[in-house]
Assembly symmetry: C2
Homo-oligomer: 482 residues x 2
């Protein structure tokens, strides 16, 4: 066997960045040609230009044809709008649907805006009902109506079902590609039935065993079919100890369960234990990633933003958060305003007050991060909230004494005023306690209000530690120093 033969079996994953770089190279060469032509401005050049352009597009087309839809999606994400739409129009139409599923919401918007109703309808034709449901919010109403008409009765019911469940539930994540069998047949019969299928749905690690009314009786792992003797009955080898979910179940909790039990697929059943769908690990992975991204953007008040959207659109996407923060900053500013007389008499206060606010904010944000994580894992509850609060307050006192002490000594050294140092110390200790209390309670309250504690907590915390920090420090200074 030669080395060449060996290489045939091995496809290394192309780094998406390399591919994108190639695509951009093609565009760049294209620009260079255009530039040359424009400068020379000779009619004959037009012909050359068109030839070269055609060749470039041909090269691009060949590159795109060799790519997996998910890779094309990744390339589209990182191209500026004009290039993105050029690539999009070169993509084979039968991949459109899959690519639309893979790209981010913001990029999907730009692609759909470029398609007419017929193209959109064609794109959905290769998709399953649960996938169409994922696209539906971004499709124009008349396209959805067309799509609906094009579906079979069964698919219509599935699409309706998938659309009826709120985001962040199992119902919105599940698919309908389950293979079901009866328990009273032999594995031989099951094998014959499977051989008649063209292929098994992705992520099929188990078949679902149902009775005549679609009631779930158990699951039959594919590995059992292979390992067991063909004349055994399904009922003899099936597993009845099944982890199931219901369409109304919370997606985050379900994701944690799928992770905990290392599931590849699991049945979704209704209240009568009838099978209605299937949840798979790939859906869960997508969900986890999306949640993580939404959270990291949500923390700074952003919804999904296309990296290459216009300045004006991007600016708008950031307004709400900046407006909220401007309000809280003005509130804190008015707190300082109350003490302008004290600051005039002892101007050192102006230089020191941001330190008191900042360190308590930092310390409080540590508490927020821990509590938010513990809430996500369901680790916080009535019986341990008090223990945790006492611990966090204890940590704040220890850190207040340590870092407040250092800050106090530094203030004393810089301004030669020991009383100022003592006030600095006391204000730091008190404001770190404020930070711990707020950092602990705000996430708990948001959670109880069914809001995502990861998202609003930090703003409220900083608001508290800023305003209270200024109030405590300037207040103490006014009483004891001026």
């Amino acid at each position: 066997m030669t080395d060449m033969d060996q290489d045939k079996a091995k496809i290394r994953v192309d780094s998406i960045q390399d591919v994108a770089e190639e695509v951009r190279d093609i565009f760049k060469r294209h620009e260079v040609v255009e530039g040359l032509v424009q400068r020379q401005d000779m009619p004959r050049q037009e012909l050359v230009e068109e030839m070269v352009q055609r060749q470039n597009l041909h090269e691009l087309q060949a590159k795109l044809d060799s790519l997996h839809p998910a890779d094309i999606a990744a390339v589209l994400e990182q191209l500026p709008i004009a290039e993105r739409l050029t690539v999009w129009n070169l993509v084979k139409a039968d991949l459109d649907g899959e690519i639309l599923l893979e790209v981010s919401d913001a990029v999907r918007e730009t692609l759909i805006a470029d398609m007419d109703a017929d193209e959109l309808l064609a794109a959905t034709e290769q998709l399953d009902a649960d996938e169409i449901a994922d696209l539906a919010p971004d499709l124009p109403d008349e396209v959805i109506a067309d799509v609906f008409r094009s579906l079979s009765v069964e698919e219509r019911a599935q699409l309706k079902a998938a659309l009826s469940y709120p985001e962040d539930t199992v119902g919105a994540l599940m698919d309908f590609e389950m293979v079901t069998v009866r328990e009273d047949v032999t594995l031989e019969v099951v094998l014959r039935y499977l051989r008649r299928l063209d292929k098994l749905p992705a992520n099929t690690d188990k078949l679902f065993v149902v009775d005549r009314r679609e009631g779930l009786r158990g699951v039959l792992p594919i590995s059992e079919i292979i390992i067991s003797s063909p004349d055994q009955k399904v009922s003899e080898v099936m597993i009845t100890d099944v982890v199931t979910f219901q369409p109304e179940d919370d997606a985050e909790e379900t994701a944690r369960a799928v992770e905990r039990y290392d599931l590849v697929s699991a049945p979704v059943v209704d209240v009568h234990n009838r099978i209605v769908g299937r949840i798979t690990i790939t859906d869960i992975v997508d969900y986890i990633r999306e949640e993580a991204e939404q959270e990291s953007l949500g923390k700074v008040g952003l919804r999904d933003e296309d990296l290459f959207s216009s300045v004006w659109k991007s600016a708008q996407n950031r307004w709400l958060w900046l407006a909220v923060n401007l309000c809280t900053a003005f509130f804190a500013s008015r707190v300082i305003g109350l003490f302008e007389g004290s600051i005039e008499k002892l101007v050192a206060l102006a230089a020191l007050m941001p330190i008191v606010a900042a360190i308590a904010g930092n310390s409080g944000n540590q508490t927020v991060a821990l509590i938010v994580r513990a809430l996500a894992f369901g680790e916080v509850n009535k019986s341990n909230t008090r223990t945790l609060l006492i611990k966090e307050l204890g940590v704040a006192v220890v850190n207040g004494i340590l870092w407040g002490g250092i800050a106090g000594v530094a203030a004393w050294a810089i301004y030669g005023n020991i009383a100022l140092g003592v006030v600095m110390f006391a204000a730091m200790v008190l404001n770190l306690i404020v930070g711990a209390a707020v950092g602990m309670l705000v996430p708990l309250i948001l959670e109880r209000m069914d809001r995502d504690p990861a998202i609003g907590s930090s703003v409220l915390l900083t608001f508290s530690t800023d305003s209270m920090g200024f109030l405590i420090f300037l207040g103490l200074a006014t009483i004891f120093l001026v």
Copy 2:
């Protein structure tokens, strides 16, 4: 069929919170009894106490025996240390290894500290080489030596291999549970071979087809084995278009590839295309979660912290971050110190300066969040950095004019000083530009230095927008107002 029969097939996932609540209830009842006994202080009570205690522990034991190891791990996470160790000692010894794998690093430390060398050795005996490698950093050296001696030659080689790859590489994530077959046999032979195995390793959706030297020739999906005719040869139905990874590959990029291509398992090969291991979706899911958590804690300067560790230990865990922030806050404070003369003359400056710093910090953090996400997806590169920088600066100018305008008018209204309003406006615009430039460049520089841009960016950004905000605002005020 009765309803009862139906219920048998359906095990709903117990909410871990409910289970933990139950465990804590048992402890609480236990405490009540202890309290009673202590108050009455009669010798006969001791007997009663012991009986009740024994019954409680018995109940707890029964509960624990019914739980999946991953669920026990989740319960352990949310118990204070004393209760945690009581539960830990009640857990069946043959689950110890799996539970240690499931708990967080911080909790694992507390559990391992409670075990002697023999118990630790016993715990590792149920684990595979790749799992032992995951525990190894937390095990005492002498235990590792004992474990090593207890392994077979093959397992030793695997453990050595797994330990030799740095964290965040495929080598550190892969397992060794791959089933390999030859290409020149029929599916019938493959089936016979599989039937001789007790069970297939978890996540086996494909067998790996190898030659005599373990060189990868292709993969054989389990579903192909089932669907194809048994007398077909492996070489006829195997897939040669295989996504493979190498042990040195970056784990994050690999995770993205596994997600993109919806893989359940994939072969890991060395430079000679010889199979050395296997990567599975469950390993990837664990990796994604751990990364996300490390990131959200790392952003506020925390390493993994046990929710119930002592105040003193927790305080220490937070020091480095607070120390860094105290330094940056003092630096900003000294910038203000430079302008004390101006503040004494126009005390409104003291009240307004935190607004200039805060809004630029908020706006810059939005830029950081977008760039960090784009970097994680490999969406930022030489050819689009300039486009992005120009866009972010444009957004900063738009937002600076809008929110700086509002802030300027507000300052004018509050202090009746139009020049102060203009200075406020100009400082906001300039500092938002600083925020955008720093928020864009810091993550890029950290990425180029091979540091995680998600972790250090925010501190550096706030440092810049605070110091520069004070400098710009107070500097402009000194030139134009006082």
